[in-house]
């Protein structure tokens, strides 16, 4: 008995060593890009022009001040705008994708299979295909300088739907829905109060992804938003990058890229907590 225990302990220690080694290696790789970013954000435009360096340039606070005070962009405003759009997208895309996935997973109806196949098929269409047509549509219906065309399309995200569907398949026993019905719960209430809590980890995951991709979205917003007070972070960064030669300052650009990461990082840390807490929620029923 003791022998087995000892062997097990050695095995465990070995496994832990392997795990930590791999994790530390990957973490270093990941942090390296941030290290480069911080280095660049601390260097003046002249230093950046002179090529890349591996050590700080001593202009971190100059860049911060310059970026913050740049008259052509309003960083807090941009962040607020981006936050509003990204938060709305994250909520809408997860809720409606889960609703759709639930609808297809739980109910039997004539078009069920057709609907599922349709969504799976359209998932394969690259976004570039509809982007240009979408822009034209927005111009035609005067939807420029409006957040709705940036937010509403997120209701229909085939990829998120597919994830929710797969997740439901692995965690939701249909008996649970039946039990709720027997208890007299309304269909929407069943979804909102019984199914949603079970799906918390899935929601957290997809909310993070949706938030990040909306936060970093550049192409469509830049063509739809031109009022200074409506512009989002990526548009402002692009604006700094295409500044004319007398104002061009890569130090500011890197600084803004760095600043733009902070809010998403915070959102990630908050939401990733509920992925972990989801572990207990998943064990609700066996």
């Amino acid at each position: 008995m003791k022998d087995v225990n000892k062997k097990g302990r050695i095995q465990l220690a070995a496994a832990r060593t392997v795990a930590y080694t791999i994790l530390i290696f990957l973490a270093v790789l990941c942090l390296f890009s941030f290290y480069m970013l911080i280095i660049n954000a601390s260097r003046s435009n002249a230093q950046l022009q002179g090529g890349f360096a591996v050590w700080f340039g001593g202009h971190f606070f100059d860049n911060l001040r310059n970026a913050w005070n740049d008259a052509s962009i309003n960083i807090p405003r941009g962040m607020l705008n981006s936050f509003i759009i990204a938060a709305c997208c994250a909520v809408l895309t997860t809720y409606f994708s889960a609703l759709t996935a639930y609808g297809i997973h739980v109910y039997d109806f004539k078009l069920k299979k057709a609907a599922f196949l349709f969504i799976m098929a359209v998932m394969m269409i690259p976004p570039q295909v509809s982007a240009v047509g979408f822009i034209k549509l927005c111009y035609r219906f005067r939807l420029t300088n409006n957040y709705l065309p940036l937010i509403l399309p997120s209701i229909a995200s085939p990829v998120v739907f597919f994830y929710m569907k797969q997740y439901l398949e692995s965690v939701l026993p249909l008996e649970m829905v039946e039990a709720a019905r027997i208890d007299g719960a309304h269909e929407f209430r069943t979804f909102n109060q019984i199914v949603l809590p079970i799906m918390k980890p899935a929601f957290a995951v997809q909310m993070i992804f949706a938030f990040v991709s909306s936060w970093n979205n550049y192409f469509i917003p830049t063509l739809l938003l031109d009022k200074a007070e409506l512009k989002t972070v990526p548009i402002m960064i692009a604006q700094l990058r295409s500044a004319d030669y007398s104002k061009f300052d890569m130090g500011k650009v890197y600084m803004f890229i760095l600043l733009a990461i902070l809010p998403v990082l915070i959102v990630y840390i908050i939401l990733s907590k509920s992925i972990i807490r989801g572990a207990t929620a998943g064990a609700v029923k066996g």
């Binding site: 973490a27 409606f96 609703l99 109910y107 570039q128």
Partner: protein, 307 residues
């Protein structure tokens, strides 16, 4: 899956999926149909004046598949590039993510500093792809720190043109895609594993299964739906690979167009001339390829685990 009888509930199915379909039809389907429809027309802009639309039948497809003077068919080359770039990045991405997800969820290993690692591995995904590529571009430029380091340590005499050689460029693109997406995949799989009923693991432990057995007999089968999702979306994402190679090679797919992906090719047609005809034809081809591949993957992977 158990068949249900309660027909009276079927209207709820329609109600639940309605918002999704309305939004999809309005914002995506209409533009997409126009694009696909345009595949059969000559339709582009020359400066500010519009040429077409003129019906050309399958003319755009024929043009797409007409071999160049040296006998190679461009779209197939770019498809090949896309697959190579994808495989180089996505295979390690899914495998590493699976490993990490198991590490993080293992009660036996009970790793310390999990929150730190989980945050750090996801961080590259937070940087805009264009900014990320910009960093790598400067890092590996002929006067960049990597070359400086290699030269000062005596390993190189002359600076090495990483961004001008096929293999280094492809490896860099794959490395960047890997770094940007493995954290994302890890989180997906982790959430999937968290969703698995803990009593299953406990039962396996009581039965005396070791961790390898638990992984293959319990974790993997129960994780199958999420894993299928991961592989299919990684594949679709791979086929649609665009921003990293676009920014790293300035849209040129250097060297000699060996890092030109299909969507970069599509973008070349749209960027200046708004050539909906050719772009539409490429979209149709890409759609057909993706659909076939996804169906094959979905069926081969889902079947064995479906009870």
């Amino acid at each position: 899956m158990k068949k249900r009888r309660g027909v009276s509930y079927s209207k709820w199915g329609y109600i639940f999926i309605l918002p999704f379909f309305i939004s999809y039809i309005l914002f995506s389907l209409i533009p997409q149909i126009t694009t696909f429809y345009n595949a059969f027309f000559e339709n582009y802009r020359n400066g500010l004046s519009q040429v077409g639309p003129n019906y050309v039948g399958f003319g755009n497809f024929i043009k797409l598949f007409t071999p160049a003077k040296n006998g190679s068919i461009d779209i197939l080359r770019y498809f090949g590039n896309t697959m190579i770039l994808w495989l180089l990045g996505a295979v390690p991405q899914v495998l590493v993510a699976l490993l990490l997800a198991v590490f993080f969820t293992s009660f036996r290993l009970n790793l310390k500093g999990q929150q730190f690692f989980k945050t750090v591995i996801y961080m590259p995904n937070l940087i805009m792809a264009s900014a990320f590529s910009m960093l790598f571009f400067t890092l590996f430029s002929p006067v960049g720190p990597v070359n400086q380091l290699l030269m000062s340590s005596g390993m190189l005499e002359k600076s090495f043109d990483f961004l001008g050689m096929m293999i280094p460029v492809r490896l860099l693109i794959s490395l960047m895609n890997f770094l940007m997406w493995f954290g994302n995949t890890t989180i997906l799989l982790m959430a999937g594993i968290q969703g698995i009923d803990q009593s299953m693991f406990e039962a396996a432990q009581i039965d005396g299964a070791n961790s390898l057995q638990t992984f293959f007999r319990v974790t993997l089968p129960l994780l199958a739906p999420i894993l299928v999702y991961t592989i299919i979306t990684a594949m679709i994402g791979g086929l649609q690979m665009f921003d990293v190679p676009q920014v790293l090679t300035n849209g040129k797919g250097t060297p000699d167009r060996t890092s030109m992906t299909i969507v970069m090719y599509l973008n070349n047609y749209l960027q200046t001339s708004k050539n909906y005809g050719m772009a539409g034809a490429i979209s149709v081809v890409l759609f057909i390829i993706s659909a076939i591949l996804s169906l094959v993957v979905y069926h081969t992977l889902s079947k064995p685990y479906k009870k």
